[in-house]
Symmetry: C2
């Protein structure tokens, strides 16, 4: 294989990169350290393995013919499986290389350069990066003190609403979703954490003014598949047809498509994992509160922990020294620790260390 | 899992989709039929299996811990492997979810809405779709009759030059690349098929005016990995740092990263596969010419076959009826069959059928 030696030289392409790209900081994902001894409670990965069926499904497509050929462009097999499980039309499902891919596709489909993206704050910080890449404006609308939406919103081309929200783990009501949908051109309900929410607590799109709502979901968290990158969007089939034009033709690979279909079909396993996480979340929240943290009641697989009596950043740093990673987040001075729900044993390890720190 | 029933209703989001998206046709990839009896010679997949090391590498990461955790955002292990094999700085390498992902990232990084993308014609038709999605203008510059570049080019924000080109399989000279690079802001040298080119025939970026050139490559073709979606770009590290801001944080999954590193490290296997394809290409080209096709001498893993005495579209259709898929391509009336190079046995099957058709 011939090596293009151009990499050794200075590239004049730098100055031709768009000013909005050069000016932006770039989204920084949570730390991914390679040390296997580190307890990772910083990126909301699931502490339990994926369904055993996932391994079988991947092995079944681990053939020469499947690897050397292109995958299904639209992921028809996954769409059939998910449609059956969710009770919806497979044509209303769009596959994505993780839900970040879907958020990117939606941004490109709805937001022109100079357009407006809105999202609540404090919330998922990627939304701002998506606006910056697109050359769009970005407006944050602060949550109320109890994590409900504040109105009015600007008439944005696209609003992103994570429900449950990160870092709070809170949900907003159906009425609020309907009101928001009425104030913006299109609303993306980012349901990355929806599978951890209590039925009933969830302000789903169901009876909301759903006319201009697109739902996104991921298999990274509730199905323990962050490593394989798979998410899906749900929208009207006519909208899905437009989004297909924007996505890369083969955005999901043959192994992740097989894994995703197997995972979503194993609802029994899914429910057992969810039950364990919900139970640990409850216990962890109680113990963290006993240690003096203000813990927001969570409908997700993480807990937002703040305190007034101590700065929390040194706690994050000390935990890291002790090989426990949590996420320190700072929104213009409003800061806290976002701690993923691990296994019971992992939670005990975290709590034991924290007891000697706080 | 709760089913959002919104899919059953009409979505008002449709009218909020950008006009450039609604107006475009959307790129249509080559047919991917599920019938295992079909001989696929339409999307330039490699007829040989990937390196045996690829299977071992995937199995080695098929663990609960690897699947449930996020992959390396920048693919450091792959970058180390590829840097070693190519003899270049790992920091000059950007990983992509197939080379389509890289072409998308480059478009977003260099081309504002209303900007200009240029590419030669007849060539890869995806470039026009990328311009349409970005809301950019697109200009085609016809090749000369012997598939060399015609000058001058407009001062485009980005030019795409596939080298070797599709559908022709031809390459342009180093001098032409240098001249083109001087006339546009940035030049993407799309080397999806470069691994099949003869050393020496290739007008590489090497001694060209490489100052504003970015090279993209894929493991889909020469490494038999179309199913796992993996490509990489080579550019100045300062340019790569900007492109990292544009890509999704985790654009490549843990299984494809492992597969890609294993594949590129097995250069001995790569060379043996390449030798077989180059030999079959030569024999196939000779036989197709004997059947009356005008076959363009190819540096890629496909052959561009035209004829004046017969329309070729009915041949494509008849071959499809006989379970052989080739790619019928029509560029404003200039049409032909693009036929992927298969194994010797596959080529024989194609030739035997064609003999009874033409």
């Amino acid at each position: 294989m011939s090596a293009p030696r151009l990499a050794a030289t200075r590239s004049g392409a730098l100055e031709s990169i768009r000013a909005n790209i050069r000016a932006m900081q770039g989204y920084v994902p949570g730390e991914q350290l390679n040390d296997p001894d580190i307890l990772k409670l910083n990126t909301n990965e699931n502490p339990y393995p994926p369904s055993p069926r996932v391994f079988d499904a991947i092995k079944a497509v681990l053939t020469s013919d499947k690897l050397r050929k292109y995958p299904q462009p639209l992921g028809d097999s996954f769409r059939q499986s998910a449609g059956r499980v969710l009770g919806i039309d497979p044509d209303s499902i769009l596959i994505g290389n993780g839900s970040d891919d879907l958020l990117t596709i939606l941004t490109r489909a709805f937001v022109p350069e100079g357009g407006l993206i809105a999202s609540p704050t404090p919330s998922y910080i990627l939304y701002k990066s998506l606006a910056e890449i697109q050359g769009a404006r970005f407006e944050k609308i602060p949550f109320t003190d109890d994590w409900q939406l504040r109105f009015p919103w600007p008439r944005a081309e696209l609003a992103f609403l994570p429900n449950p929200n990160s870092p709070s783990g809170t949900v907003v009501s159906q009425n609020q979703i309907a009101e928001l949908a009425g104030q913006v051109n299109a609303l993306v309900l980012d349901e990355a954490y929806v599978d951890f929410a209590e039925a009933g607590a969830l302000g789903s799109a169901d009876s909301a003014s759903r006319l201009n709502i697109i739902v996104t979901r991921t298999l990274s968290k509730s199905y323990s598949l962050a490593g394989i990158r798979f998410g899906y969007a749900i929208a009207d089939p006519a909208v899905v047809r437009e989004l297909i034009k924007v996505k890369d033709s083969y955005n999901c690979d043959v192994l992740s498509l097989a894994a995703a279909a197997a995972a979503i079909e194993d609802q029994e396993y899914f429910r057992s994992v969810k039950a364990k996480i919900v139970a640990t979340r409850s216990r962890m929240g109680y113990e963290l509160a006993r240690l003096g943290f203000a813990v927001t009641p969570s409908q997700a697989n993480f807990l937002w922990c703040r305190r007034d009596d101590h700065p929390v950043k040194p706690m994050y740093e000390e935990l890291k020294r002790r090989k426990i990673l949590v996420r320190y987040m700072n929104y213009d001075g409003y800061d806290g620790l976002r701690i993923s729900v691990g296994t019971d044993a992992e939670s005990d390890r975290l709590l034991a260390e924290l007891k000697t720190i706080v």
